[in-house]
Amino acid sequence: MSLSSITEHAPSTGPSTAKWIGGTVAALIAWGVVYSQLVPFSEWVVASTNVDPKSHFGEAISFFAYDTPKVLMLLTLVVFGMGVVRSFFSPEKTRALLAGKREGVGNVLAASLGIVTPFCSCSAVPLFIGFVSAGVPLGVTFSFLISAPMVNEVALGLLFGLVGWKVALTYLVFGLAVAIVSGWIIGRLHLEHWLEEWVRNIRSGAVDLPPEDLTVVDRIKAGIDAVKEIVGNVWPWIIAGIAAGAFIHGYVPSDLLATIMGRDTWWSVPAAVLIGIPMYSNAAGIIPVVEALLAKGAALGTVLAFMMAVIALSLPEMIILRKVLSVKLIAVFVGVVGTGILAVGFLFNALFS
């Protein structure tokens, strides 16, 4: 081990910790300065292309030039912050909190912990088995599995930055509600016998992991690692999402969307959910599209239902979960969650008219 890596991994001694905290603060200030210059930057980009800024193409370019750096910067900040927060949580700790909890309270707790517990769909299966085999009720496990991908920091951070805090808060509250109620219903249906045979036979219990004592520096590093991993993975989705958003922004006539996705068309919510299920994107790719749709007169409930369906009900995740759930149980899962999303869509379109 080289000398530099020894000092790097040494337990937090004063000067090194101060350096990391100082560096983090400096990076945050630099972030703020760059972020405040994005509007002049996008105007400069459009001006330097000699395209009429009022034309379709000009509007598309200006949307793209402003939103790409804005979304990437917001995402980096949010992911860093959540990376630090998540270093205080782990699926094993969450499981210990949920094991043996009664339904109801357990569903609420599971959906809330779903926001802060580190989760990736690649470990959905070990997590599912790990929860169920350690005595977390099936319905409570589902509340967690619905909330974790749908109500996450990427979705909330981007909604907050691009569409505003009211929509972000609405999404948070109703996303949690869908997760809590859907999990509760699945629990009440007592479908344990619809799990795959081998899953029911695992009664491993929970393992006691040795405690990992993390220092402040470790937590900052956890934030940086989260940025490298998440932003490193989702940026192509974001660019694709913003390009789609830019196209909608520049070329789609606003009255068209107000007709198709407006409040007065009752079938637009179910249509949005049906279209959303086979689409696979993550929050980062879908939110620029959401922003553009809203700006073109689409109704909020319809757009939220579309977004929830795309993120929460995806074919790849169902294929992964097929390893532990029977087809019947997956059908119930899609049916219950889909109905919840429909209810959110209709409720919103009725409330905000």
Binding site: M1, S5, H9, S90, P91, E92, T94, R95, P118, C122, S123, V125, P126, L127, I129, G130, F131, S133, A134, W198, V199, I202, S204, G205, A206, V207, L209, P210, E212, D218, D225, K323, V324
Partner: protein, 78 residues
Amino acid sequence: MKDVKVLGPGCKRCVTTAEMVQTEANKLGVPVTIEKVTDYAAIAGYGIASTPGIVIDGKVVHAGGLPKPDDLARWLAA
């Protein structure tokens, strides 16, 4: 000879974890056998809820995310 098992369905981080164990073992001069456990039932049998997990001589020492190199050194030296 330390018996190390890396638990994970074959994601990129599981492969990286196995490499990190090998690197750290070489550095310390600890002889190891590394086995990748990819079967979901077998992984779940160890009682973890997140992957990659690390089992050394039958004891689960880590679950979820990449391990820290100095933790690895400590586990391998124990």
